[in-house]
């Protein structure tokens, strides 16, 4: 079936990714979504629509599959991307409370980005630093043995860092 394209056009390199999957069908959906997310940081609406056309599948199906997996994001990442480990070791050391504290502080859920685009939040499986549990990782920097209290301070330090950086730039 044919779907009329919405007005916004997807990021230019989407087409080159799709070109790597000629004659693609249903089986290619997940790898394709992964690759697009890797390049764009998230799955934009136009990208999801375009992938549906490419695979000749309804957009609802693409969205349905993508929302089934935790790994896919539908909003661009924030300036600081916060990954909370929910692996076993971290869980035992209280990562659930840390996660709750972050959600409350940022007023977003996993997979979302704060309104000011400062933070985005993701839940990940064990990130291989169990000795430091519970661990969070912000833009590839590890923070060890965090608590619901310390994590607020950490987030604040990033806010300050951003403000300082912006001041200098201005």
């Amino acid at each position: 079936m044919i779907v009329v394209l919405p007005e916004t056009t997807p990021e230019p390199d989407l087409e080159s990714i799709l070109a790597e999957y000629p004659l693609a069908r249903r089986e290619s959906l997940i790898p394709l979504l992964q690759e697009v997310q890797e390049h764009h940081g998230y799955l934009s609406r136009p990208a999801i629509v375009r992938i549906g056309q490419h695979l000749d599948l309804p957009t609802s199906k693409i969205y349905g599959v993508a929302t089934f997996y935790n790994q896919f994001r539908f909003q661009p990442q924030g300036r600081y991307h916060v990954q909370v480990c929910r692996g076993t070791a971290c869980h035992v050391k209280g990562s659930a409370a840390v996660f709750e504290a972050i959600k409350r502080e940022l007023k977003i859920d996993a997979g979302q980005t704060s309104r000011d685009r400062m933070f985005s939040l993701e839940v990940v499986a064990c990130i291989g630093a169990c000795g430091l549990a519970p661990v969070i990782c912000i833009n590839d920097v590890f923070h060890a043995s965090v608590t619901p209290q310390s994590v607020i301070k950490i987030l604040d330090s990033y806010r300050k860092k951003a403000a300082k950086h912006d001041d200098q730039a201005a």
């Binding site: 079936m1 044919i2 779907v3 009329v4 394209l5 919405p6 007005e7 609406r45 999801i48 629509v49 549906g52 599948l57 309804p58 957009t59 609802s60 199906k61 693409i62 969205y63 349905g64 929302t67 089934f68 997996y69 539908f74």
Partner: protein, 573 residues
């Protein structure tokens, strides 16, 4: 044949058929939730489980092909307990809104709770609280009442070829939704309501117009008129214990007057009018090298589908409005004039087997000078509700005749209610228009019945007219694809959105009972067999309308009132 033993009694099964089918033929009732006749089994709900000798676990009978002699126990303690547990789990997070629910007393989930004797909440889950989707002009979605049986998703994709809804999210948060979890109104939904008729619960319903209609009936300044579609009179009797397929147009007319409607008109009258216009359009296209194949335009779900998914075929659509809209247009022009009523004071209601008609009536193209052709659309189900509300029993109300000037109909107009009916009616009149003679045999058997794709060739004075009739938009998709790929033998194609036509419409009784659909169809054929005026061009009131008002088919006035245009649409399927 394979002989199997069902609950200790031998029964002959067809090799390869699903066990559920065998059980039904044997008169053994096994409940189902996710089973859909005619589609591949999904095995999702496990409501239909039975014990089969030699198999350790319980087996879902809807997905078990019978291949060899075996012993089946459908209601063993274990099977019944399993079903009850499934139901208990399904209702664990259910909102328990029965008293206020559209499906109260007509709900499969409620029936199962009752049948299996669930009397207490053994599993207490967090109540499901998804927000309702009221964005669509036709369909209301209430996902908190959904049991995730998946039938709506399959019907939408596999039968209708639309696929605008799917499972989204996972685990306890999974639900049925559109792409990006948007409102149904901005999705590719064509408003057909096929999801509504298969839904076992109150998770899907029509957007009701009952409050508006009641308000109009109570408003002394309004002249409230009503029309009823061809399929309604052979359906609505079912709700009052009358035989399935019996034509109750007379009693329904009487009941509608008792409800307070000023005039009761028959949409089959404007079906005849549609045929005059559409057959003329076909003949015109054939004789002047117009765009072919011509596609019918009376099914509004189909129209939106073409606008969204096959915009290149818009030029093939007949420009005729649907019978509902033609009736609306002549009510607020010719009738208003004749009765000296300001069109603003007329409230025009239609009763339709269809949810997409609500969308159609709201299209901006269906308005003239700020006055809508149609003000409210009730489905067959809403009519039943309205009758119950007013204590009217169709088995008791004496039959009355519809009102002039739009009450007279032929059986050709009445046939519009079944897939193939528009085609049959159009062939009868096109033949007369081209040759000046009536056909020798009016009945075109090849276009009758429940098949999703039907074809026929008709000889009109040496010219062979090749026609096709499809219902269920999945079938229409395949035909349009063939045409896009070069198929060129067809002149005229009738498309009905719902499988079997309006008798199986999205506004018809819940349950999508194929047998009932067939009998409603037979009801229409029976009228065509018994009555003598079987061609639209012999409808005396239609002739008078042309003489007094329209002039002739395709005249300037006709174009102004009875024809329309279509627009390509963006939508996410």
């Amino acid at each position: 044949m394979v002989t199997i033993e069902i609950n200790g009694r031998p029964f002959e099964a067809e090799p390869g058929e699903m066990l559920l089918q065998t059980l039904r033929r044997a008169g053994v009732q096994v409940p189902t939730l996710c089973h859909l006749e005619g589609l591949l089994p999904s095995g999702a709900c496990r409501m239909c489980v039975v014990e089969i000798e030699g198999q350790r676990g319980l087996i879902p009978s809807c997905a078990y092909p019978v291949t060899q002699p075996t012993k089946v126990r459908t209601h063993s303690a274990r099977a019944v307990l399993a079903r009850r547990t499934i139901v208990e789990l399904l209702v664990a997070n259910h909102p328990d809104d029965c008293l206020y629910c559209t499906r109260n007393q007509d709900c499969q989930l409620q029936d199962l709770v009752q049948q299996l004797g669930v009397r207490q909440r053994r599993y207490a889950g967090e109540k499901s609280r998804h927000i309702m989707d009221m964005s669509s002009p036709s369909i209301v979605r209430e996902p908190s009442k959904c049991v995730l049986c998946g039938k709506c998703v399959r019907v939408c994709e596999e039968v209708q070829g639309v696929g605008c809804i799917d499972f989204i999210g996972r685990g306890s948060r999974s639900k049925i939704g559109t792409a990006f979890d948007d409102g149904l109104n901005v999705s590719g939904c064509i408003n057909c309501g096929q999801c509504v008729v298969v839904c076992p619960t109150g998770a899907l319903a029509e957007r009701s117009h009952i409050p508006e209609v009641l308000a109009a009936l109570r408003d002394p300044r309004k002249r409230v008129v009503v029309q009823h579609a061809p399929a309604v009179s052979v359906t609505v009797g079912e709700a009052f214990g009358l035989p399935v397929g019996a034509d109750v147009a007379g009693a329904m007319t009487g009941a509608l007057r008792r409800l307070g409607f000023d005039r009761v008109f028959d949409t089959s009258f404007t079906a005849d009018l549609t045929i005059m216009e559409e057959a003329s359009e076909l003949v015109h296209r054939l004789q002047n090298g117009g765009r072919l194949p011509m596609l019918t335009s009376c099914s509004p779900g189909w129209i939106k589908f073409v606008e969204t998914s096959y915009p290149e075929s818009i030029g093939n659509l007949s420009t005729c409005k649907s019978p509902q809209q033609m009736m609306g247009a002549v009510i607020k022009s010719y009738f208003a004039n004749r009765e000296q009523i300001d069109p603003h004071d007329i409230y025009s209601v239609s009763i339709m087997p269809c949810t997409a008609k609500k969308f159609e009536a709201a299209r901006p193209e269906m308005m003239r000078h700020g006055v809508a052709d149609i003000d409210a659309v009730l489905t067959t189900r809403e009519l039943v509700q309205l009758l119950h509300m007013h204590g009217l029993d169709l088995a008791e109300v004496p039959a009355e005749n519809a009102d002039t000037p739009f009450g007279e109909r032929t059986t050709a107009g009445k046939l519009f209610g079944a897939s193939g009916g528009v085609m049959e009616a159009a062939i009868r009149t096109a033949h007369w228009m081209v040759t000046g003679r009536e056909l020798e045999a009016f009945t075109v058997d090849a276009v009758r019945g429940m098949d999703g794709v039907k074809q026929a060739s008709v000889n009109v004075d040496g010219l062979t007219l090749n026609v096709a009739v499809v219902s269920g938009l999945g079938n229409a998709c395949r035909l349009l694809d063939q045409i896009r790929d070069g198929r060129s033998d067809l002149h005229f194609i009738e498309v009905m959105t719902c499988p079997g036509g309006c008798v199986a419409g999205g506004g018809q009784p819940f349950g999508a009972d194929v047998d009932a659909v067939r009998r409603r169809m037979q009801g229409l054929y029976e009228l065509d067999r018994q009555e003598s005026v079987r061609t639209s061009h012999n409808n005396a009131s239609v002739k008078r309308l042309y003489d007094e008002f329209l002039g002739q088919p395709l005249s300037h006035t006709s174009h102004e009132l009875l024809h329309t245009h279509y627009v390509p649409r963006d939508a996410l399927a």
